[in-house]
């Protein structure tokens, strides 16, 4: 089971219809088909899901929490993106 021959896959499970896929963990498998089977046996033994995605971990590009502030800064000073920013005059309905 060398890591070259059995790379790491990240597993996402949709718990029920109507919910989005959520990351549940990772596993090793030689190919996508086996990754799916392993994911079924490892992460859905108790009916935790109705759909599984597996993604090669190497295909994921991540922002690092170390860069958190700089990377997410542009969003911090745009409070006007939230509805709570706006003052609603008394008596206005359906807004």
């Amino acid at each position: 089971m060398s890591t070259d021959h059995s790379p790491l896959w990240e597993v996402f499970v949709r718990a029920r219809r109507g919910l989005s896929h959520t990351h549940v963990g990772s596993l090793h498998a030689p190919d996508a088909e086996l990754a799916l089977r392993n994911a079924r046996d490892l992460y859905t033994r108790r009916q935790e899901g109705v759909s599984i995605w597996v993604v090669p971990a190497s295909a994921i590009t991540a922002s690092s929490p170390d860069e958190k502030d700089a990377f997410f800064d542009p969003a911090a000073d745009k409070v006007y993106r939230h509805p709570t920013f706006y003052e609603v005059p008394d008596g206005v309905a359906h807004l």
Binding site: T3, L27, A29, P30, D31, R45, K68, D69
Partner: protein, 354 residues
């Protein structure tokens, strides 16, 4: 949700602990939602940021900066934990082919499969710290990393499967529930999952013992014999007494560990007394009694010299367990190679087609 095989928290043995797992899960969500106000920024003073996150009871995540010793401690602890789950399949696997009914056999198979699952969740958590699966497997196979000493004791009768579920899994849960609040995110999340599943293990063991203890005199004697043999090794699972525990203080400061070995051992003893009464079995400790002043039971400590001997490799089954693990690994090599060859062939086909 993990299906509906769990009764409400207050129902039956281990129920209170399951409630604590759920509380830990809620706390994890709550801490994640709580914004950290002020304090050092992540890109300024790494060490101060790390300390601040720990102090705020928030989680350290894989790409965060962390002290090298924190990383090493976690790798050691999570890997040993993973190895224990994998080796722990052996003593119980020993009884799969001889389970007394098809129902018991199906349940035991599911339980042993869960142990494999727990090992894999934990290996995956350890890998987020930068160690590879291959390295971890090698470390176990070469004997350079340990697994829990409890699995070096033999399962002599069917009742041992019950005693393992009740006492060994019970002690493991008491040890592991606080780990659901560990400061390292991937470990805490893996432990929440593990603890929910362990609860089924503990109950199935308790049910086996309860059935035997209410069966024929021979069956009851078999159950008592199993409890007699597993009681002290289970107490030893909490590790050496606080005074002799080498890793404790730093792990507590890092919030990897939340309670001392002796605190957890006491908690386990206090839980078991009432559960043993309902089983109608006797805990093999003549000095076990309620201490009104301490509001806890006084009990006889396990033999820590024996624990040290087993850790050193001289327990009844150390060699057998390791031999079996090595053989399983080498016997499985052709499967891994075949799967890798097939995957390579498919990749080449795609390349040719493209």
């Amino acid at each position: 949700m993990y299906g509906n095989d769990f009764a409400p928290p207050e129902d039956g043995p281990g129920g209170g602990l399951l409630g604590e797992v759920e509380a830990a899960e809620a706390a994890l969500r709550e801490a994640a939602a709580r914004a950290r106000r002020g304090g050092p920024a992540p890109d300024e003073d790494f060490a101060a940021y790390f300390a601040d996150v720990i102090d705020a009871d928030q989680k350290i995540e894989p790409r965060d900066w962390m002290p090298e010793a924190y990383r090493k401690t976690l790798i050691r602890q999570i890997a040993q934990h993973a190895h224990s789950e994998i080796i722990g399949m052996q003593p119980e696997g020993n009884w799969i082919s001889r389970a007394p009914s098809l129902k018991r056999k199906a349940i035991l198979l599911a339980k042993v499969q869960d142990e494999a699952g727990h090992g894999l969740y934990l290996y995956a958590a350890a890998e987020t710290l930068g160690v590879s699966r291959d390295e971890l497997v090698e470390l176990l196979i070469d004997g350079r990393q340990k697994y829990s000493s409890i699995f070096n004791y033999p399962t002599l009768t069917w009742a041992d499967v019950g005693a393992i579920g009740w006492l060994v899994d019970g002690a493991a849960i008491v040890n592991q529930v606080p780990l659901c609040r560990c400061s390292y995110g991937p470990y805490a999340r893996a432990m929440i999952r593990v603890c929910k599943e362990e609860s089924f293990h503990q109950r199935q063991g308790y049910e086996i013992l309860h059935t035997l203890a209410h069966g024929t005199p021979e069956q009851k004697a078999m159950a008592q014999d199993a409890v007699d043999r597993w009681w002290y090794p289970s107490l030893a699972m909490f590790g050496p007494p606080d005074g002799d525990s080498t890793h404790s203080a730093q792990s507590m400061a890092w919030k990897i560990k939340r309670f001392s070995n002796d605190e957890l051992r006491q908690r386990f003893v206090d839980m078991c007394v009432q559960q043993a009464e309902i089983l109608g079995l006797t805990i093999p400790d003549p000095d076990l009694r309620w201490n009104e002043q301490r509001q806890a039971h006084d009990y006889t400590q396990p033999d820590y010299d024996e624990l040290m001997q087993v850790i050193k490799g001289n327990g009844p089954c150390n060699r057998e367990r390791m031999e079996h693990r090595r053989r399983a690994h080498s016997d499985g090599a052709w499967v891994r190679e075949a799967a890798a060859a097939y995957a390579a062939k498919q990749r080449n086909k795609e390349k040719v087609a493209a």
